[in-house]
């Protein structure tokens, strides 16, 4: 795999964040927080989000993982560190993106360090962080 510092990682797009997936996720996670499955609970908060459920942080992170795995393979992700400056809401169209910041070798494995992010179109990132990915040999 020919990768250079500065390369962009092919984007991964979630056309519309679906509330039913948040509900399934809440059940799997045993997550009691109603902001992920009760639109009226979100509307009652003093944040002006309207009647839209808030995507779980790990789900937004998973879109960035999907981008990395589509790019370098399903066992490639070695580390992700992500912060959450803004929430992602049901119905949002979000795009995961990334850029290679360094390439190094560790125990005979070629690793790419990357900046990664998840954004609504035209906005600053809702999620942002770094990732380390093992690069395929060819």
């Amino acid at each position: 795999m020919n990768v250079q510092v500065g390369d962009s990682i092919p984007e991964w797009v979630m056309e519309s964040v679906r509330p039913e997936r948040m509900r399934t996720m809440a059940a799997i996670l045993r997550d009691p927080n109603p902001v992920h499955w009760d639109r009226k609970a979100v509307a009652a908060l003093p944040f002006g989000l309207g009647e839209r459920t808030i995507n779980q942080g790990p789900l937004g992170l998973s879109y960035m993982l999907n981008m990395l795995m589509d790019w370098a393979g399903p066992t490639s992700v070695r580390r992700v560190t992500v912060r959450f400056p803004k929430v992602v809401l049901d119905g949002d169209h979000v795009t995961a993106g990334g850029r290679v910041t360094a390439i190094r070798e560790e125990d005979g494995v070629r690793l790419a360090d990357c900046d990664i992010w998840l954004s609504r179109e035209g906005e600053s990132p809702s999620l942002e962080g770094t990732a380390t990915v093992a690069l395929p040999e060819s």
């Binding site: 997936r21 799997i28 045993r30 942080g57 998973s62 993982l65 399903p74 992700v77 580390r79 560190t81």
Partner: protein, 154 residues
């Protein structure tokens, strides 16, 4: 800061707290549904989608999201914020493998944040670290969760 409950000392004393720990096996159905939630197709060869590194360590350590809220004496579900998630994967995770899970509080402190309603805003920052080991004892993965617990002044 004296009128904020719980006292900051109680929060700081959480450092070193260990969850009971335990085992966790990801079944095919769980991985299938989890992966579908991410918008991805199932991964090959029984690989578990790495997003499992949020809930699997928590449940495997014999706690829960609600239990972690309660441990930090959250004022409500709405008072919790995410600072960061840090996941390390030494060995890819697979379905139907019984992983041993441990978890503990690694950092806990009271912080001063942005002012709210013309008064200082305070929150507690609590960091949890979970580790997963394969049945043979090899380290597989870790999850470090850092949450904030917003506090109201009395």
């Amino acid at each position: 800061m004296a009128d904020i409950q719980p006292p900051a000392e109680e929060i700081r004393a959480l450092v070193g707290y260990e969850f009971p720990g335990g085992k966790y096996t990801v079944a095919h159905w769980e991985n299938f549904l989890l992966t579908e939630c991410t918008g991805s197709e199932p991964l090959p060869d029984g690989l578990v989608h790495p997003v499992v590194l949020f809930h699997m360590p928590i449940l495997g350590a014999n706690t829960s999201i609600g239990g972690m809220f309660a441990l930090g004496q959250a004022e409500s579900d709405f008072s919790i914020g995410i600072e960061s998630y840090d996941w390390e994967i030494e060995r890819p995770l697979h379905e139907d493998v019984e992983y041993t899970v441990t978890g503990r509080v690694t950092e806990a402190d009271r912080m001063e944040g942005p002012r709210r309603h013309d008064r200082p805003g305070y929150y507690d920052r609590i960091q949890f670290r979970f580790e997963l080991h394969e049945p043979e004892g090899d380290f597989a993965a870790s999850s470090t969760i850092t949450w904030t617990y917003r506090r109201s002044a009395a």
